[in-house]
Amino acid sequence: MADFRLPILLLLGLSAMGPGAQSLESTYRTAGPAVHAAFDSVRDVLQTSSAVFQRGRREVIFGTVVSADGHILTKASELGELEDLTVLVDREAYTHPRLLAEDPAWDVALVKIEASNLVPVRWSTIDEAPQGTWVVTNGATTRRQRRVQVGVVAANEREVFAKGGTVLGVELDPDAEGLRVAGVTEGSGAEAAGMESGDRIVAVGGREIASREELLKDLKERRVGERVTIRVRRGEQTIDLEVELAGRAELFGEEQTRNDAMSGEFSERRTGFPRVMQHDAMANKHYMGGPVLNLEGECIGVNIARFSRCETYAIPSLEAAELVKRLMDEPALR
């Protein structure tokens, strides 16, 4: 396994600093109250235009207010069952949120609460926020007060591919000739599409596939959430199944690396996004879903995944605004 260098003090048997060290009072540190106070005008935007999904008193995930009458964009995979969730916007608590639509490629959900006169975020129209731009996003919250976490745009905008590629969620029989399904993974796209043990996969997306290698190669070039037509032979029948692809790491889990071990609570779904803007504000997996604001208070992105100790991904504003428009036009799920 690759060894990315960085010793941890404890392992070296060293104390943090030598004797006679000077220390900066915590209020003046980047995450301290004195520094955060300079962001007060942007905090006001978080107060009115971010949402907090709570289960009991516990924060589950944040959300971004995208319409005056209660549409909220959030991270789908952290939401869980909606019934017992309370949604805080400003100082109001709303119950019975409804799931309107989801987009698996971006891992977002559009949720509706019964509200009026909310203040939706103002989408920034800048194509790509320059690196080094301040970002202001949700930090710890109370029932009445949203607080900030701050950072900067930290890397190039780009696509982040699913770690390990995409999968259907089947186990193939290694001894059989061709691609015989030996098992279907619970909760997978293959299961949802009705694939069964004994099915023989003969084509993917209209292209004939004869070997495991060909299948893996085909899936490697596809995205999480993409729906692909899988043609199978079942006995004498030929059946076309629409399978939604998942990320390998999400469905089958992944081995924890040393970097993961030092990253606290990172998002389970943290790779496989068509485009991300990266920033370095402190966060954990519950801090996702809320808006990422610049100093003007414009929304330059929506937090979508805590990747590591120092890396958070957001959906860039242009893509997020587009996504909201598309999801609002879709027929409601339930």
């Binding site: 960085l6 943090a16 006679g20 060290a21 520094v35 780009r158 030092m262």
Partner: protein, 328 residues
């Protein structure tokens, strides 16, 4: 103490730039007061970033990676001792645009975690200036760059903004969060001058340690001369007698010793030494017996270079190779 080498470098840089950047006044405020102050920080950072990124490199060690930063047009690199791991080691350096060049480690300080390396391919490389006036203070705004988790061309190196939150003679701590792969990467002040090199982290999130520039300046000449300094935890000094060549030799009529057998995948085999070759001299000393040859080798440590004058097919040849580790 300031080395003449660095003075030359600093002067050269000063001449090539229209203005030697002043210490930003925002550092003298205990906290930014308003949006105007925040914009000042943002503007300094976005201005300093492009040049800083160009000089920040990934140090690819094969089985892992760290980071480093180029500080002279000829390709002198500052990094961490636990990244280079020793003196005279060769590795690949990757610039942000994906360009790869070979480099070799120079000296290091195993107590402070400071290390130097040099690109060995000739060229002119993007570089940054070193903050050599020791002007960085507690509370100063700084930014970190590094190839977090390894090289990713699409992503580039990762920026983190923070402040100097603790400072002692041999270590500075910032609230720029580091992760594996960042080691050896640069910490800059807001004018883009190099103030530290990433070294280690604490268990708690905001403990991120860097080697301050003054630690480098203190031992600059020794490190440039490929010395292994100190007996600290960041690098293990190669032990005398552990050097491994991989040949057995026999006495010979006249001068030198004859190679009887060459070990598989040994440094000798890799250097092309074959059975029947005759070693006439080792590091300039005439070889007379098997025992004397063994005594000379015993003085050598892993990674030490050894020069042979050889006799092969009646012709004299010279050859230099590096010893491996007897235990590894």
């Amino acid at each position: 103490m300031m080395s003449s080498r660095l003075l030359v470098l600093a002067t050269g840089v000063a001449l090539s730039l229209p203005l030697l950047a002043e210490r930003p006044e925002i550092n003298d405020k205990r906290a930014p007061a308003d949006r105007g102050d925040l914009e000042k920080i943002q503007s300094l950072l976005t201005t300093a970033l492009p040049a800083a990124r160009q000089a920040t490199v990934c140090i690819d060690l094969g089985e892992g990676s760290g980071s480093g930063v180029v500080i002279s047009p000829e390709g002198l690199i500052l990094t961490a001792a636990h990244v280079t791991g020793g003196v005279g080691k060769e590795f690949t350096v990757v610039f942000e645009d994906g360009r790869k060049v070979k480099a070799r480690s120079l000296g290091l300080n195993s107590e402070s975690d400071a290390a130097m390396a040099k690109i060995i391919e000739e060229g002119t490389y993007p570089f940054v200036r070193v903050e050599d006036q020791d002007r960085t203070k507690l509370g100063d705004w700084v930014f970190a760059l590094g190839h977090s988790g390894g090289f990713d061309k699409e992503r580039g190196s990762v920026v983190r903004l923070g402040r100097i939150v603790r400072s002692s003679n041999s270590t500075v701590q910032s609230d720029c969060n580091l992760i594996g792969g960042d080691s050896g990467g640069p910490l800059f002040d807001l004018t883009g001058r190099l103030v530290g090199i990433h070294s280690r982290v604490g268990q708690r999130l905001p403990e991120n340690m860097h080697v301050p520039m003054r630690e480098f300046l203190k031992h600059w000449d020794s490190m440039a001369d490929s010395e292994f300094l100190g007996e600290g935890p960041f690098a293990k000094k190669p032990e005398k007698g552990k050097g491994f060549l991989g040949v057995s030799v026999e006495a010979r009529e006249g001068a030198g010793v004859r190679v009887r057998r060459v070990g598989r995948e040994s440094p000798a085999e890799r250097a092309g030494i074959k059975a029947g070759d005759v070693f006439l001299k080792m590091d300039g000393e005439a070889l007379e017996s098997k025992e004397q040859f063994a005594e000379l080798l015993k003085e050598k440590a892993p990674d030490d270079p050894v020069a042979f004058e050889m006799l092969r097919d009646g012709k004299t040849e010279t050859l230099t190779l590096r010893l491996a580790d007897r235990d590894g």
